[in-house]
């Protein structure tokens, strides 16, 4: 034999082959079109499939160092609007969550404050003021009782200094000035 002949030497066979191929392609198209992929996907247990994947082995194969090396952090930071980010942080809420009293009482911060604010005069002033405020509250309570009004109905202070608290059960007001109205 001199060599391999790719096509059939018989022209009839060749034509039959082409016809068979076109029929096969057509049938394949018809079969694919008739398949409801969504229905098939619904029948697949994705959770079961995922549970069979060894995620740790997958992660082990990823070279994180190499990925990090390729990240241009400077460029990334340039694209971050830090001011907008900070504006979205509710600092007051964070501070409210801090237990400042235990921080002062249990850490060196307490002794620092004590050293910086030491002095009998300031201590005496604090006590006088505290006693006065206590008596203020006492008289205010009794006056309200006599006048049959509740303390909650009265303003705490000028609006610019003490924001009006929203009635209970309603959402807090949106602060549009700081862009916190998310």
């Amino acid at each position: 034999m001199s060599g391999y002949i790719d096509v059939s030497p018989n022209p009839i066979n060749d034509r039959l082959e082409r016809m068979a191929q076109s029929i096969a392609e057509r049938v394949a198209h018809l079969v694919i079109d008739s398949i409801d992929l969504n229905a098939i996907l619904e029948r697949i247990d994705v959770d079961g499939l995922v549970s069979r994947v060894d995620a740790d082995a997958l992660v082990d194969r990823v070279d994180v160092e190499k990925i990090v090396e390729r990240v241009d952090v400077e460029k990334l930071l340039e694209r971050v609007d830090v001011n907008a980010l900070v504006e979205r942080v509710d600092v007051r809420r964070i501070v409210d969550q801090l237990d400042i009293e235990s921080l002062v009482a249990q850490t060196e911060l307490g002794s620092i404050i004590a050293r910086s604010t030491s002095g009998v005069a300031s201590e005496v002033l604090d006590v006088i003021r505290a006693q006065s405020v206590g008596l203020d509250d006492f008289f205010a309570r009794w006056t309200n009782r006599v006048l049959r009004r509740t303390a909650e109905a009265l303003p705490l202070g000028p609006r610019t200094l003490v924001p009006v608290a929203p009635p209970s059960g309603t959402a807090p007001p949106v602060d549009t000035r700081t862009g916190n109205g998310q």
């Binding site: 400042i100 307490g110 604010t117 006590v127 003021r129 203020d136 006056t143 202070g157 609006r159 200094l161």
Partner: protein, 175 residues
């Protein structure tokens, strides 16, 4: 060792309307301070006159003049300090401050108006002060006339923290 601030003062009061006792105590301290300064001034004037002229200077012989000086001095004492930072010596001691009704800083105009209206609250047995107890914003007659209000400028919470800091870790277990 002085007594501790009340435990209940664990919230800041800055900006809240000041109550009757704080205001009355501040006013009493101011009356004492202004009277003390006036007496000191009068003594200094008497001494100067005696040294300069060799004659004794008696207040009894110049009652009208001393009354006019006293009224002028009281006006300057209150109006100047309120115009300066909204506080008198007594108010600074008690941690309270005068502001405009909307909470902004007082101008010399309001300070002057408030000082002129203050005697109106004192006359008729001090009935002008009743507003501090019954008015919604704890404003006395002279506050309403001058468009002012009195607020706490003292941070009660900071005072409590200072007290805690002085006590040391042994009180940290207190609720």
């Amino acid at each position: 060792m002085v007594a501790a601030p009340p435990i209940g003062l664990n919230e800041g009061r800055q900006g809240h309307y000041a109550g009757a006792v704080s205001r009355l105590a501040a006013f009493a301290a101011d009356v004492g301070a202004s009277w003390g300064l006036y007496t000191l001034g009068l003594g200094a004037v008497s001494l100067t006159v005696e040294l300069a002229t060799g004659r004794t200077f008696s207040v009894d012989r110049h009652q009208i003049a001393t009354l006019v000086v006293l009224v002028a001095w009281e006006f300057v004492y209150f109006a100047y300090q309120w115009a300066l930072n909204g506080k008198t010596i007594g108010m600074a001691m008690l941690g309270i401050q005068v502001v405009k009704a909307d909470g902004t800083s007082m101008t010399p105009r309001e300070a002057t108006l408030r000082t002129l209206a203050l005697p109106l609250s004192i006359v008729v047995f001090g009935l002008g002060f009743i507003g501090i107890l019954v008015q919604r914003e704890r404003r006395a007659l002279h506050d309403l006339l001058a468009g002012t209000a009195v607020i706490y400028s003292w941070d009660a919470r900071a005072a409590r923290l200072r007290w805690l800091a002085r006590q040391g870790p042994e009180v940290s277990s207190h609720p």
